[in-house]
């Protein structure tokens, strides 16, 4: 075998802390290495063609690149090796950047580590064999979980691209957070006026099947061939018959059900349609408040329903569907403002969240768009906005910036002045973060044209004082304490991961960051992909996002899926388990351990039980390999022999030691 070793400088990233030339030189000492060199940027066009040239000039049949993480450039170099005429699996990548140069400034030790890692890769490569991928058919249906603005955009784009879409929404209406907003920044155009047409498009599009009030129960399979189990929660109303006339809501005597859509500012009836523009506009019963379901009394909705749609015996229903790819667009939750005891949120009626304020401003909200404070319904004269409630604060485990609060606070201050020209608004802020298009101009408008008084500093305490609230804080620019007697305080609550996010991540086999937001495949270059093939992200489930960014990501995820589904067959990864039939004793341990159900029992010609790997299902995790008592099942490209070769390179057997 003839192996070539290429050691990358990565500019100064590696070369500063590893003697790359020396590492290249010493690799000539390893068996079968016939060519070695160091390169400034191996991933560049020059670097890649350098590899191709060397393969041809030196008749190499294996290549080792010592550079950065294989997560990023392994596919790049595999393609280069393939262009040079080799099988792409006759290639090994060594990470001497994250694993050597970036972790220590000790150049000598780093170099030694780099040398050892290269040696291991060479020994492994000597055992590599050419692998050829197989092709498999795919199902071009898309499952989208969460129908807020990101999910809606993704669904419409996929559907326009000709794909069949299943759109899941856990609430009884689509629209998400955006449906609750009054106006949007920085244009101050009406939120529902720009959202409603899209919601209607979703309901009318022939390619979109909407599952409202439904959740994902389970997902199995792999890219192109997923099986989804969907739980359609019992609404106690037959939606095929319901016309959304609302007569049941007029007559329902149980008027104490929680009104999630109005952020609990009011109560609603046990049977309800969340808001007039709801899609689908269908009623559902809140089982926690329905007198019929709780005590078997009442039954009025059944009597008044003109289409006999009420069904008190309805049960949750499980539906299965075959899909090829999944977009999760499950959004975010708002920070629980009662965690700041000193602000009195949840204790004092007139300390409300920004989303509650949004409902007060909204013409279809509980006050019809009149700003009336919850305690006594009076119009506030002084409104104080407190920013960063649950953002940029380590003490509540929310060290990150939620990104959109500065903007919506400026918007709410502007709208307050529009609604109540005599009112005065104060905003307590840490920094104004307004980096979007027209964003900074917008906050300046709030300050300069609308006379909003911005006070740079944190609020220490809010407490009732007479009929209003005393807001105590600090003005760090003036260097003094500030006290404002407010009639209404609005807490600009930050974003946190949706409560269901960790459980959903487990079902989808994707990862989350420390705060529960789904992790993208690469923070810059693969922002909507996950590390699980065929699962994509859109919107705030990946991190706090405003509407334009969410819409952008929804479209991006759709584009990714359209590209994926532009082929009729997908390549399967040949790095899968393989059974050595003569060695297999048919014990079935591998079948039981496999988390993907990728191994089945078959009989050989003699009628003996044997294990067989379903190659398209196998994810190459290697659990079967370590479980097999006969070492009969081996993971291609990561066999026992290859691992042992690496270990032996690192800890050479002491030949002089005698065990006799």
């Amino acid at each position: 075998m003839r192996i070539g070793v290429f050691v990358c400088h990565c500019g100064s990233n590696i070369a500063d802390n590893v003697e790359v030339a020396r590492a290249a030189q010493t690799s000539l000492l390893y068996p079968d290495v016939t060519f070695a060199t160091d390169m400034m940027y191996t991933c560049s066009e020059a670097g890649q063609s350098g590899i191709e040239q060397a393969v041809q000039e030196h008749s190499l049949d294996g290549v080792v690149v010592a550079a950065c993480t294989p997560k990023m450039h392994e596919p790049t170099f595999r393609r280069a090796v393939e262009r040079a005429g080799l099988n792409r699996y006759m290639f090994e990548m060594v990470n001497i950047r994250e694993h050597a140069s970036w972790i220590s400034k000790d150049k000598e030790k780093n170099t030694r580590k780099a040398q050892e890692l290269i040696h291991m890769a060479v020994e492994k490569l000597r055992q590599n064999s050419a692998l050829t991928p197989k092709y498999f058919e795919i199902n071009k249906r898309v499952l989208i979980i969460g129908a807020g603005i990101a999910g809606i955009q993704a669904a419409l784009d996929c559907a326009e691209g000709g794909l069949e879409v299943l759109l899941l929404e856990k609430e009884s209406t689509i629209g998400g957070k955006m449906a609750k907003l009054d106006k949007t920044f920085p244009t101050v155009d009406c939120s529902s006026c720009i959202l409603s047409p899209k919601m209607v498009d979703v309901s009318l599009h022939p390619n979109i099947t909407l599952y409202a009030y439904s959740e994902l129960e389970q997902l199995s399979g792999y890219v192109g061939n997923y099986q989804a189990t969907i739980r359609r929660k019992a609404t106690y109303v037959d939606w095929d018959k319901c016309t959304g006339c609302g007569r049941c809501m007029e007559k329902c005597p149980s008027k104490k059900a929680r009104d999630h859509f109005n952020e609990d500012l009011t109560r609603t009836t046990a049977i309800n349609i969340p808001f007039p523009q709801a899609i689908p506009k269908r009623a559902k019963i809140d089982a926690n408040h329905c007198l019929k379901l709780l005590k078997d009394k009442c039954g009025i909705c059944e009597e008044v329903c003109p289409t006999q749609a009420i069904d008190y015996n309805m049960q949750d229903e499980l539906v299965t569907a075959e899909v090829g790819a999944v977009i999760t667009s499950t959004g975010f939750d708002l920070f629980d403002h009662s965690k700041y005891g000193e602000y009195g949120g949840g204790r004092y009626q007139d300390v409300i969240t920004s989303m509650q304020y949004e409902r007060l401003l909204n013409a279809s909200g509980p006050t019809g768009g009149a700003i009336q404070r919850p305690s006594d319904g009076k119009e506030p004269k002084k409104v104080v906005f407190v920013q960063c409630v649950g953002s940029r604060d380590k003490s509540v485990d929310r060290p990150y910036c939620s990104g959109f609060c500065c903007m919506y606070t400026a918007k709410q201050a502007i709208l307050t002045k529009d609604h109540l020209p005599e009112s005065e608004s104060f905003v307590f802020y840490m920094d104004i973060r307004a980096p979007g298009k027209q964003y900074d101009e917008f906050t300046r408008r709030a300050i300069e044209e609308y006379g909003t008084r911005y006070v740079r500093g944190r609020v220490a305490q809010i407490y009732p004082y007479g009929e209003g609230l005393m807001v105590r804080g600090v003005d760090t620019l003036m260097g003094c304490q500030v006290e404002v007697e407010a009639d209404l305080v609005v807490l600009a609550v930050g974003a946190e991961c949706s409560k269901e996010a960790p459980a959903l991540a487990e079902k989808l086999r994707i990862s989350t960051d420390q705060h529960g937001f789904f992790t993208e495949s690469h923070p810059k270059l693969r922002p909507v992909e996950t590390n699980t093939a065929g699962i994509f992200l859109a919107g705030a489930c990946q991190g706090p996002k405003d509407i334009p960014s969410s819409v952008g990501q929804g479209s991006a995820a759709a584009a990714k899926i359209l590209a994926l589904f532009s082929k009729d067959m997908l390549e399967s990864d040949p790095q899968v388990a393989q059974v050595n039939l003569p060695r297999c004793i048919g014990c079935g341990k591998c079948i039981r351990i496999c988390p993907f159900g990728a191994i089945q029992e078959v009989q050989d010609r003699a009628g003996q039980p044997k294990a067989e790997v379903i190659e398209t299902v196998c994810q190459g995790c290697g659990l079967c390999e370590v479980t097999c008592p006969q070492s009969a099942i081996q993971l291609n490209h990561c066999t026992d022999n290859q691992i042992l070769a690496e270990v032996n390179a690192l800890c050479p057997p002491k030949t002089e030691e005698s065990f006799e």
Partner: protein, 320 residues
């Protein structure tokens, strides 16, 4: 449940807060708690010592803790938050062996640091229990609106004091409610009263304590209840100074919560040292009594009216 406590009165109890000391002893007696005063107790270290030398200040506290160990008691209680802080901080510091050794170099009789330190308030809420307090109530403080003010150090720092909520404590609220009083929402419960700035920079105390009195009045309180001698002095003794400084006319009595307990238990005013308060509490107490009587009258009148209405519409009540 230990019914017998070592008792550390603290120096204020012998001087400026005689009425706190008197009422604490009387109330504990009524509740069958035996307070065994530490023989030959000395300063808790709450003098300027703790700002100068931690070891020396802790040694002052540790001398008293060692005496408690000699008494063979597990727990020492004190009414004063300053004493409490110093005894507790010393015990917390002495958890480190080397610090304990340093402290013991000052002491004739070494401290083993095995005594639990509690405030009288904590013992009343946790050991005696509200139900037993309720049993003793003979004259419920009906109608009396009280603003509970804890002061800044009763519950802080939270890691060391380890009792009640450091930002929104409720122990005293619960006792006052058990006595039948009406506890008003008092969000500045743990704000600073100005403490010892009364001597070097009096205007600080007048400003900060004035704010507390202002909020109590805004919240409709008849009086304040406190557990701290220094807070009591700033709010009560300096109330006239505050009035002239802020151009106000506060007339809010500032009770030790133990005095209110004693009143509810039916003890004599004199026994509780009510005569030692600077702001005369009687007008406020009478006002509350009068308001209570008026409200009762109003309720009775409404009750009568309801009955009259019901008897005039017998058909409807029968159908129900």
């Amino acid at each position: 449940m230990p019914e017998s406590y070592a008792y550390y009165p603290g120096c204020s109890g012998l001087g400026t807060s005689r009425e706190y000391e008197l009422s604490t002893r009387k109330v504990c007696q009524a509740l069958d708690l035996e307070l065994r005063e530490i023989p030959d107790w000395s300063c808790c270290g709450s003098s300027p010592a703790h700002t100068v030398d931690h070891v020396f200040s802790s040694a002052l506290a540790a001398r008293n803790l060692a005496l408690v160990e000699e008494m063979g008691l597990e727990t020492v209680i004190t009414p004063c938050p300053s004493c409490l802080t110093n005894l507790k901080v010393a015990a917390w510091r002495m958890q480190e062996e080397s610090f304990l050794q340093e402290v013991n170099q000052y002491l004739e009789q070494p401290c083993k640091n095995q005594v639990q330190v509690k405030s009288v308030l904590q013992a009343l809420v946790e050991d005696v229990s509200l139900s037993r307090i309720k049993e003793q109530v003979q004259n419920p403080l009906k109608g009396l609106k009280i603003a509970p003010y804890y002061g800044c150090i009763m519950n802080r720092p939270p890691g060391i004091m380890d009792f009640d909520d450091p930002e929104n404590p409720t122990a005293m609220d619960q006792i006052l409610k058990a006595l039948g009083a009406q506890v008003v929402d008092f969000p500045l419960k743990v704000e600073c009263c100005g403490a010892s700035y009364g001597i070097p920079r009096q205007e600080v105390v007048l400003h900060l304590s004035g704010k507390l009195l202002d909020l109590a009045r805004v919240q409709g309180a008849d009086a304040l209840a406190v557990p701290c001698p220094l807070c009591q002095m700033n709010l009560d003794m300096r109330q006239n100074q505050i009035n002239s400084f802020l151009q106000q006319d506060f007339q809010l009595p500032v009770f030790y919560y133990t005095q209110l307990m004693g009143m509810a238990f039916g003890l004599e005013h004199k026994e509780l040292g009510l005569d030692k308060l600077c702001v005369d509490p009687l007008p406020a107490l009478n006002r509350a009594k009068q308001r209570q009587a008026e409200e009762q009258e109003e309720r009775a009148r409404k009750q009568k009216q309801r009955q009259a209405n019901q008897s005039s519409a017998p058909a409807r009540s029968a159908s129900e």
